[in-house]
């Protein structure tokens, strides 16, 4: 049995028929070919699959695609605008906030959620907000600096 879903992904409306048990992350990766969203665990611990749903960070391995029916989804592929990197993407590049790059899309989108709620977070607040995202390469040191970099840039832009 397949169920129709309509989702706006990175600004484009897509309609597909999917099995009700299909996870949102597999819908994005395998149905839409948006492989920037990653799968790192089975238990919603690692955060590699974080995307924005209606502006808030969600773990796309924890949602079924059908639960996203009618929603606006932003994945890492949709974060840059008009060929310009988002300040978070810039920050991760400038501050060496990534090594293998696997956790990076989820990390950036989790940080995006934080900066929406708290545009000027302290180091402690950044570390707390990123608790749901594992990185095994960086020790988080430069990820924290990258988020601070983006916060400063966004405040200047605002």
């Amino acid at each position: 049995m397949k169920i129709p879903v309509t989702v706006t992904v990175n600004g484009q409306v897509v309609q597909r028929e999917v099995e009700p048990r299909m996870l949102l992350v597999h819908f994005l990766r395998e149905v839409l070919g948006l492989t920037g969203t990653h799968v790192g665990c089975d238990t919603s611990q690692c955060g590699a699959c974080v995307v924005l749903m209606d502006g808030r960070a969600v773990k796309s391995c924890t949602l079924f695609a059908v639960q996203a029916d009618g929603a606006q989804i932003t994945t890492i592929e949709g974060l840059a605008r008009d060929g310009r990197l988002h300040p978070l993407q810039e920050g991760f590049w400038e501050m060496h906030g990534l090594q293998c790059g696997f956790c990076t899309p989820g990390m950036i989108l989790a940080a995006y959620d934080l900066l929406q709620r708290n545009p000027n977070p302290t180091e402690e607040e950044i570390r707390h907000a990123l608790e749901g995202n594992y990185c095994r390469c960086t020790g988080y040191h430069n990820i924290v600096r990258a988020v601070r970099y983006a916060a400063d840039r966004l405040r200047v832009q605002a």
Binding site: V39, D42, R127
Partner: protein
Amino acid sequence: MATRYFGVAMKRREDPRFIAGRGTYVDDLTLPGLTYAAMVRSPYAHARIKAIHTDKARQHPGVIAVFTGRDMVESGVKSLPCGWLLPGMKLPPHYPMAVDKVRHVGEIVAVVIAEDRYVAEDAAALVEVEYEPLPAVADAEKALQPGAPAVHDEAPDNVCFRWSIGDAEKTEEAFRRAHRTVRLHLVNQRLIPNAIEPRAAMAQYNPATDEYTLWVTSQNPHVHRLLMAAFVLGIPEHKLRVISPDVGGGFGSKIFVYPEETIVTWAAKRVGRPVKWTARRRESFVSDAHGRDHITEAELAVDERGKILGLRVRTIANLGAYLSTFAPAIPTYLYGTLLSGQYEIPAISCEVTGVFTHTTPVDAYRGAGRPEATYVVERLMDRMARELGEDPAEFRRKNFIPPDKFPYQTPVALQYDSGNYEGALNKALEMINYKELRRQQEELRRQGRYIGIGLSCYIEACGIAPSQVVGSLGAQAGLWESALVRVHPTGKVTVYTGTHAHGQGHETAFAQIVADELGIPIEDVEIVHGDTGSVPFGMGTYGSRSAPVGGSAIVLSLQKIKEKARKIAAHLLEAAEEDVVFEDGKFYVRGVPDRFKTWGEVALQAYLAHNYPPGLEPGLEASSFYDPKNFTFPFGTHIAVVEVDPETGKVKILRYVAVDDAGRIINPLIAEGQVHGGIAQGVGQALLEGAVYDENAQLLSASLLDYALPRADDLPAFEIDHTVTPCPHNPLGVKGIGETGTIAATAAVVNAVMDALAPFGIHHLDMPLTPQKIWKAIQAARAA
């Protein structure tokens, strides 16, 4: 030549694809007609397989095939090989899928191939395996007891090998005349690597050409190809192409040849369609090679001046159920040889017993043997300093190998090439303001606050390694590295390196070296790795070898390129070759810099060969195989400052200072990032991580819900600096920085916690130092 890139903290060239979600990891790939594999794994640690019923699974809609271990063996598939042999070692076969018995939880018994991954998982659950459960043992000490269940008939006492190094007699003698000795029983707990990208493999077979292509999460694609082709599957090596694209972290766990990649490669031919498998995290926990797992008795002896006389170490190393690719090397030659640390120790004796248990195989995990050695040495140094009532920094300083004694021959085989241990110690002490910190510690202690300061002065042997040396020690491979430098007619350059990057930034760091050597913009240099179809045979990336060995191979090729280019330039300039200077991308006759030929002109002429030196071959490319003369020996001092809350037992890291000496630094940004990540993994072992098996050898910590990886708020900001003692024996003067953090941090943090707990009379607790463990120890101490 003016250095423009070497030593510069350049932003990484690989990042634009990763920050935009355009990386290409194995699971991102697809092929027409792709099928998906799901593994049926044993829920038992030890059981006889009585029967496997696959009918229901086969009949499930969408299922293409189901195979068992018997299918593979009957078609001629052989055991996974072990790449390091020790004398007298037991080497039982390890088939990709179990045939008669399973020997650890998670061992594969069957594979289901289906149209999509959901269907494959569904059908895997329909495979019915009749097991006869047998007694199992997870703990290596228990596995050695008489009557313990044997993992293999070939090793009824579960002993795989007994190995020793050093001089036992001389060490006995040292202990006989010791003024003071200390002894520690140390458990270096089993860790589960947990690279955030799960392992994955996708294979395709082309019947028209009889060629296989395997995309796999590998740190060493050529090693994968050789071992799979020549040992396991019996495929001609040149008919198997292995591609390891972007890889999401390895930390050792992606070195080894695992069952899964051999299964999908074999199955791709059988089903006539490409097959992909991607580990679920639960599978990673039970099937990625684990790390560490030592039980050690260690003793240190000093004379009346507090100078070390001897070190005696007995270690039981848990190898798991089967020998993973490099398993025997880790608790022996990468461990026992490091036990001299930074110190002059006249006599060392180390005995290691490698033991089979009914657990996931154990192999190299970041640092691989060297963190275990550092932990032994640095815990003993702290314990002895306390015993003698000496400051731990001063006790270490007194026993350092002095800078004028290099090269220094240790009693455990290694010859250290260079070092200035006191330099790194002093810098670290200064950064942390050690004397003032000790004063504050005293003061806070009077207020009931428990601050601890922990040092770790580590040595590492990396840049592995001289081929003849490792060959004589049991390696079944040479450990040189390759580089092919290809100059295109426009002067642009592609470098093919036998190393593999999975986070280390080779595309940037290696390009920095090339651009400098050729005097060309870095944009004109491309670094290619990870494809046996284009890259010359290479040994891959582990043991912090990419810069010292892989980088050196690139330099050798560049020297050959420059030599040939100079010949061409001399011809064009109508000058003698020895009079031609190459500087900033231009060739000119010495003293006449205005008349020059550019790099691009020379490269073009190499391909036109119209106006060309007689007898010289056209073209401009060179390959090299660099075999290092020695290991490299990074060293440094790390200091952790912690506070223990006696009411909860929770440890908070207040500061963490690291001073590392990895020789010359190619890119400080990347080097510091390596140190940060290494420290995080070392801290993870000290405070959080640890595999837990129950009495039936069932892995209880088999998900990220149950196994604690460090999170952002478990860690402090790190304070990093370095000293520079160039490596004297490779052309770049580099040593490797990938593992220093992990090697140093574990001991630094544990020493800090023990320092904080000293007022309670607590001398040692085994890792991970969880709040519960510390709280209990404090309660027991208070009750006593």
